[in-house]
Subunit: 502 residues, 2 copies
């Protein structure tokens, strides 16, 4: 049966038996992107995106000098130069685990602010995702090839590409600011920390850089999801919390799965309860992540404040209605807001391109332990590291390095560390987003600043401005722009001083 832990493990079983991204997506920032990519997004659907694609000959392995290291692969990046002139700022989106076109389409904030800064916009695709496959279609074959997929190589890719690009544009002195959301936000923050000579600042939106080791309580993610629903309606939270047992009881009955298939309007009869469990789980978790204040289509088309809408559905049933029928109706909001689905494909859902990539990262460096506490609306569960590691070993032939991220990038007592080093980072978060709990929520110094909104969700600040945006969101973006302006102002002032003194 799925649980906070076993879902994660189940997800590996899925890789072998039932390719789907639903289950894992709840666990990893942006894993949900895959689902969107296959279901609602494609490059063909965004022909109007004002970017031109380029391909950079990138070094495969920056950190050894073996014969294979000099192998080159072509890394995709997108450029918009319509507002830029030589010497003006360069804004770089540090791509995360998916197709870069999709990130560009969903980061309208950069296009919105580019004219103000006369900025060049660059979106760099992360190695092993989208079209940036070092070994082509064999990229995911084994640890021999996947070994080169990790965050340190990705950061070095960004460094090499940005340096080369500036050189080719004859604009070496242009200040570079990096932007990223979710895992891309982690990369943006880490890039500023590790490559301060290349990026003068970073805006890291919804970047859970503290979701490792024991820095953030393991139950915080699902507690935060639950909190969203509890805030919307206590009854809603309790219906969901108690629905799991009702589902389990029903499935154990004779003909139980047939009844469930009917209730959940599945396209084909169900073989097990697991897929129902995951289908609901994903709907609740994703909806919490994208609990946006306006109608939006990030993962799926959804109304404004979709958690509240889900709870309205649950609470709106007549007394005596089953919990199962209520949670199905709530989840249908997520899967079928646009009313186009005649039935739901709970098992063998379409595979998502590039899923293997994040699986690999989760099995090597991106170990984010999670549990469900008794207070959450999910069944309580622990994190069994050994079982997790065994599955990774079995799947890929490598053991995870659960302490590597905090060794390489830090995180423990981050205030104390970054107070005396580092600078020019914004950590933006919305407390509706369960990932916020693993991010930096308190300002650390005069130049390492946390911008937190109570009603914000997963990198909502990166979305294009709309006429319906609430004031707190406008204010958050305004603050971001003001801080970035100051970084750039300081940079040019420093540069002028150097030139004047030369």
């Amino acid at each position: 049966m799925a649980s906070c832990t076993s879902l994660l493990l189940l997800f590996f079983a899925f890789l072998v038996t039932m390719p789907t991204s639903k289950t894992m997506a709840a666990f990893f920032p942006g894993a949900s992107y895959y689902q969107s990519l296959t279901t609602t997004q494609s490059k063909a659907k965004n022909p109007e995106i004002p970017y031109k694609a380029h391909y950079f000959p990138q070094v495969l392995d920056h950190f050894t000098f073996q014969p294979i290291s000099s192998k080159i692969f072509y890394q995709k990046y997108l450029i918009n130069s319509q507002y830029w002139h030589r010497g003006a700022p360069i804004f770089v989106y540090t791509g995360n685990e998916g197709d870069i076109d999709w990130f560009a389409a969903n980061t309208g904030f950069l296009l919105d602010i580019a004219p103000k800064f006369q900025a060049l916009l660059v979106f760099i695709e992360h190695r092993f995702y989208g079209e940036s496959l070092p070994f082509g279609e064999n990229s995911y074959d084994s640890a021999e090839t996947l070994g080169y997929l990790n965050s340190q190589q990705a950061l070095a890719d960004f460094a090499v590409l940005i340096r080369s690009l500036k050189h080719n544009l004859s604009s070496d002195a242009s200040p570079v600011v990096v932007f990223g959301g979710s895992y891309g936000g982690m990369l943006a923050a880490w890039f500023r920390l590790k490559y301060p000579h290349i990026a003068i600042g970073a805006l890291a939106s919804s970047a859970p850089i503290l979701q490792f080791d024991d820095i953030t309580p393991w139950s915080s993610f699902y507690d935060a999801v639950s909190q969203d629903y509890k805030e919307a309606s206590l009854n809603c939270y309790e219906v969901i919390k108690n629905s799991w047992a009702e589902l389990e009881a029903l499935s154990a009955q004779k003909e139980g799965l047939i009844e469930l298939s009917r209730t959940f309007r599945t396209c084909k009869n169900l073989h097990s309860l697991d897929s129902v469990w995951d289908w609901l789980w994903s709907a609740f978790v994703y909806t919490a992540m994208v609990n946006y204040p306006t109608e939006a289509n990030f993962m799926k088309p959804l109304p404004a404040y979709p958690v509240k809408e889900m709870c309205k559905i649950i609470d709106g049933f007549p007394p005596g209605a089953s919990k199962i029928s209520r949670v199905f109706a709530a989840a249908s909001l997520y899967y079928n807001y646009s009313q186009g689905e005649k039935c739901f494909q709970l098992e063998n859902a379409p595979d998502a391109h590039g899923l293997h990539g994040w699986n690999w990262q989760a099995c090597t460096e991106m170990v984010m332990p999670m549990t469900c506490s008794k207070e959450s609306m999910f069944p309580p569960s622990e994190f069994d590291y050994k079982e997790f590691a065994d599955r990774c070993m079995k799947r890929y032939g490598v053991m995870p390095r659960p302490h590597w991220i905090t060794t390489e990038f830090g995180g423990k007592r981050i205030d104390q560390v970054l107070k005396r080093s580092g600078g020019n980072i914004i950590f933006s978060n919305g407390m509706q987003d369960p990932w916020s709990r693993g991010s930096v929520l308190k300002t650390i110094s005069s130049s390492i600043i946390a911008l937190v909104t109570k009603k914000g969700a997963h990198h909502v600040d990166f979305r294009s401005a709309t006429k319906d945006d609430p004031d707190w969101l406008k204010e958050q973006r305004r603050q971001e722009v003001d801080i970035i302006k100051r970084w750039i102002h300081d940079y040019y002032a420093d540069l002028k001083q150097i030139i004047d003194n030369a």
Copy 2:
């Protein structure tokens, strides 16, 4: 004929035909260590060093997750815990390109200050040097093995080892300060920049982190050597400057090499002028580097201010004496101060253990272009990158990455960058040391501080205090101790605040 450039290239020829470290040593901080290791130092001669050796199971490749990456090798490190208690500071020497025992023996400064800080002393050997050979005696066989030898892997080694050590000592909250000289100083500075969550500060002595790309003028190193001699005596400088032509003319004569063999008291007759050239060259360069204010035995036993002594010898000849006899006599001070040599082995000098290691690093990432200007006391020469790269390719089957160090670690406009990031680094330098020109000589911020002495030489501050130390050296060390005290004070104050607020 040897020159600033061709010496470097010649050095590769040496690898094939005449193993010696003399020539290259002039080009790389600490390459001279090898020579010392084989000629004047050995572990047996330092039985009294108060350190205990340990061996840490280290990951071969931190930056890929391939099956081979999980290979473990045993990394040597030395510990002195006589002044330490749990929670007190840990001082780590970030080992450079040689046997760690030798660095420990020549970094008495740490032992001198350990009681004051109740500090644990840890000297970590750099991978691929000393006993820390990942592939045993096959470590230098080819690029397949040597590929794992580079500065980024070395820094990650330090991070992993320090974290593990603190954990095993149940002293996770101990502040760590890193120390390093020469290439070790580069590593210490870079470690603080890349791993601020592991080291609260770094003392980087004689660390030429700006000797890359075009940051530092390529002629500065040999100009600085020449300056040392010119300051000691203009005549001395001119004699050396003009001796090369005299040597060339003599060697071109019939019986010229026989006469040179006699003049240079070689143990065997010379086959070419090259070895004479290199022998002199090394003597002048090394003596400039170790132009210490007291008698010392770093590379060779030498008197206080040996450059002045050399020039006294050159100037002391009667008028009309040949330049060749003068420079021979001067170089003899370097090679034979203790008067033990009956003849000099200019060709086929004993091979130095571990030399291949630095050759590899110089051929991959540590590309430090150098030239000799017309003003230097060496024959003018340019840096021919193509020839250099071709030789590396021929020797190792890999191409250098000449811009990699500045991409990974920065260096250009370092003031501007580190002013807005980073903190707690001391760059200490003595202007007698030609490597000082490639280091940070100006204070950047309130916590990135340059300590420069006019009369200091290659990491003289790291040597044990002696009764003859001049005041400026005592003052430099006093400032270092004061600054480190402040870092540690701040660290504990920050920690207390966190605990109080918890």
